[in-house]
Amino acid sequence: MYRNRQDYIIIRQEDYMRLLDEQAIEHIALGASLLGTGGGGDPHIGRLMALNAIRKHGPVKLITPDELPDDALVVPSAMMGAPIVIIEKIPNGNEFITAFKGLEDILGKQVYATIPIEAGGVNSMIPIAVAAQLGIPLVDADGMGRAFPELQMVTYHLDDIPASPMVIVDEKGNSVILKTITNNWAEEIARVCTVTMGASVMISIYSMLGRQVKESGISGIMSFSEQIGRIIAEARKERTNPVNDLLSLTHGYELFKGKITDVSRNIEGGFNRGLCQISGLEHHSGSSMQVSFQNENLMAEKDGKVLATVPDLICILDADTSVPVTTETLKFGRRVVVIGIPCDRRWRTERGIETVGPRYFGYDLEYTPVEQLAGEEEHHGV
């Protein structure tokens, strides 16, 4: 029996049916950088878009999946493109008026609410801006419970919800509607369109009905992200160490604490791949850890023994500030804490592991949950 994050989240009813203000956005952005597990894109631009939108249109109403009518049309909103373009060519802000209109025409139904595809990185923030601008609710759920690099890596895909029709909109007003036979085709064609449209676009994909969100969404993730952000922000203010609070909230494990001694990177097929070596400090003194990443952190090994792999979350925090560290900012000498957090249970099914397990990312390795790997270590270790 593995502890499950959702058991914890669902009882937090008081977090629901409420308005997200500037403070909440700051916390969600911080939480999203942890759930980004080193990747997912810098939430900074998304955070500013969300702030811009709520200053202009007022706060956003956050609802639980349970509050959705079963036949309500729920449409995810996200950004896709090269990180270096996203920080330079800021969106227009009206992209989703076009995108949702396109979907409404095809589906013959009005959009009731929007929802994030992923809870990590920049795409956790885009739906907040969209909800504010269009005056629709934001659903407190996502399809990853973290960040992943590819569009089919969502729980919606596991439940055979089609990615298509997919709408891609650029800031100039161009839109493309894709109807594809598989979700992988949607991913491939979308990549090509994105480049032609200027390497940064807004997308709507995996349109769902209320009842599908209730079944397939990872419920409570925005509130979860906000709680993570609040713990880190408050600890920074009071100069305390939030790691224990984070571990008890996320049911996570401290995998390692140490100093980065080497980071090697290479660009492979458009992905930023690499290895980070960490040498142990305090009670980990004498040991070493290696974290492998491809945009996101994928595997953590201590003294050659695997302690966590994708799809479980491997998060690296700055040891002094406890702010999550992205793979781009890993560098020699930085003191870090590595934590492992159990992923959503749906990633642990046969189909889930096939989609996002270690083998998919090229490691010849069976997936074993972090509770077993790190739990054992804790038992035999210290």
Binding site: K89, N92, K172, A199, I267
Partner: protein
């Protein structure tokens, strides 16, 4: 004989040195920094000239590193009302300019912003043609209400022509005298950070003008009439008066840079780590080929996030006056400090506060003050406190290193007596003489440079062509800054292929440095 005068304004002191053409220090002074910074500069200048009897007409160069620009931004004073033009519409509208600035800074600098149709894609293709009609209307509307103008176009570091055309149009409508900043001359990719830097640069124009002209006048008043006058930039090189008025933001943080450069010169090491230990804080910097390493992260100035080049510094909460608290078994280092009151408050000076300097004296590392006043401190306790101090320093140095290879460490600053000669990962530890005026010396020995950072598409040209183009622009910029053509050398070439992007995009950064024209 010819001489250089170097002056550096710090938070506490304004230092001045005179060096001869063999770079020997022949005079040096320290004067307190005054609220009106120019007064302190005049006083230091007067005092350093009084120390020597030289023909003042033989002073051919005068260099000033000052905090005028930083102070103006921090205090929100003397900033120009700046019109903000962002080109790229319909892109860019989702985040308004200056959105995350503190309100006080925003209202000191600007009230109105304009989005104009135009801008470029990552590959240099136009998003839309530049809307000159909308620009004309905006400029007409600005007439009489703005004192400076900042123009930022999407992907201008790749294609600058929309910014340049907009600036030309602005000059036609708003007059040749209006200070205009175009963002691609200030910073690189990252629209919001580059725009922030451009707006601040434009708003600083009048501060920069009065600083430069004020320094010129102060020199003339002292009979230094033949000197070429330069201001220090934060990369350790100089800019002429005209250039400094156009690019004042490049002077921000020149103080620590001068200190690092001066330390490097005094020690004879061009590649090293410099640890400058002051009274309250310490700065760790890295010197590479004689110049400070630049930060690759966004840097906040007065609450605005910017991305123009800045020296990469790590500030530690440790100085000679840092307060040491001992409670039972627990020793805490700082973060409080007695600062400049150390000569009254530290135990060795008869005070009642245990400071880091007291620990150093107890352990016999220094004999300043009265060592008898700390003899009662348990030696093992003092050793433990010192270990903790050294751990802070060790961590600070480690986080600035890029690899575990050992490097020389240069120690400067009055607080450097705290530091023992055992630091892991260092090749040797150097404590040069004349530590106290390393910063003014750094100003006096500065060279001039030109720098370029741009994204090239290698589908359109070869890598060699792109590098050649970048080098030519850097040399051109160095000439513009006052370098002597024959002495210009390329000191830094960085070529980073960009992930995710098609079209073989690569970011190239080149820096050229040369001696001042004699």
């Amino acid at each position: 004989m010819e001489y250089n005068i170097g002056i550096d304004v710090g938070g506490t002191n304004t230092d001045a040195v005179i060096i001869d053409d063999a770079r020997n220090i022949i005079a040096s002074v320290k004067r307190p920094t005054t609220t009106k910074v120019s007064d302190g500069i005049s006083q230091a200048l007067k005092a350093v000239l009084e120390q020597v009897s030289i023909n003042r007409k033989e002073i051919t160069y005068a260099m000033l590193g000052t905090t005028h620009s930083t102070n103006a931004i921090v205090t929100r004073k003397h900033l120009l009302k700046t019109g903000v033009i962002r080109i790229g519409k319909p892109a860019g509208m989702a985040i308004e300019p200056m959105i995350d600035w503190p309100q006080s800074l925003r209202s000191a600098v600007s009230e109105q912003t304009w989005h104009i149709r135009g801008g470029h894609e990552f590959n240099g293709k136009e998003i839309f043609p530049l809307d000159e009609q909308a620009l004309t209307a905006a400029f007409e509307q600005m007439k009489g209400s703005i004192e400076a103008l900042a123009i930022t176009s999407i992907f201008s570091p790749v294609a600058a022509d929309h910014e340049l055309r907009a600036a030309a149009l602005a000059r036609k409508i708003l007059g040749e005298e209006l200070p205009i900043t175009v963002s691609h001359e200030i910073a690189s990719i990252g629209l919001l950070e580059r725009e922030n830097a451009a707006i601040l640069n434009a708003a600083l124009n009048s501060v920069a003008r009065s600083t430069a002209l004020g320094f010129q006048q102060a020199l003339i008043d002292e009979g230094v009439t033949e000197a070429n006058i330069y201001l220090c930039q934060n990369d350790g090189t100089l800019m002429s008066i005209d250039y400094s008025i156009d690019y004042p933001i490049l002077t921000i943080a020149c103080g620590p840079t001068n200190s690092i450069r001066g330390a490097s010169f005094l020690s004879g090491h061009e590649d090293a780590i410099v640890l400058d230990v002051g009274g309250t804080t310490s700065d760790v910097g890295v010197i590479k080929q004689g110049f400070p390493r630049e930060s690759s992260l966004a840097v906040e100035i007065g609450g605005a996030r910017t991305n123009f080049r800045m020296p990469d510094l790590n500030s530690l909460g440790l100085g000679g006056g840092t307060v040491i608290t001992i409670e039972g078994d627990e020793i805490t280092i700082g973060p409080e400090s007695v600062g400049y009151r150390i000569t009254e408050e530290a135990l060795i000076f008869g005070g009642t506060t245990l400071t880091a300097t007291d620990i150093a004296v107890r352990l016999g590392m220094s004999s300043i003050g009265d060592p008898a006043k700390v003899a009662h401190i348990d030696r093992r306790l003092a050793e433990r406190a010192h270990l903790q101090i050294m751990k802070l320093v060790q961590d600070g140095i480690d986080s600035m290193k890029l690899s575990k290879d050992p490097v020389p460490l240069i120690l400067v600053g009055g607080g450097s007596l705290l530091i023992s000669d055992t630091i892991d990962g260092t090749q040797c530890i150097i404590r040069p003489e004349h530590l106290g005026v390393a910063n003014a010396l750094g100003a006096a020995i500065a060279q001039v440079s030109g720098q370029i950072e741009r994204v090239y598409s290698l589908d359109v040209m070869s890598r060699e062509e792109a590098l050649g183009d970048a080098k030519a622009i850097a040399v051109q910029e160095a000439l513009k800054a006052g370098a002597q053509q024959e002495t210009i050398r390329i000191v830094d070439v960085e070529d980073i292929p960009l992930a995710y992007l098609p079209g073989n995009a690569t970011r190239i950064r080149v820096k050229a440095v040369g001696d001042l024209k004699r």
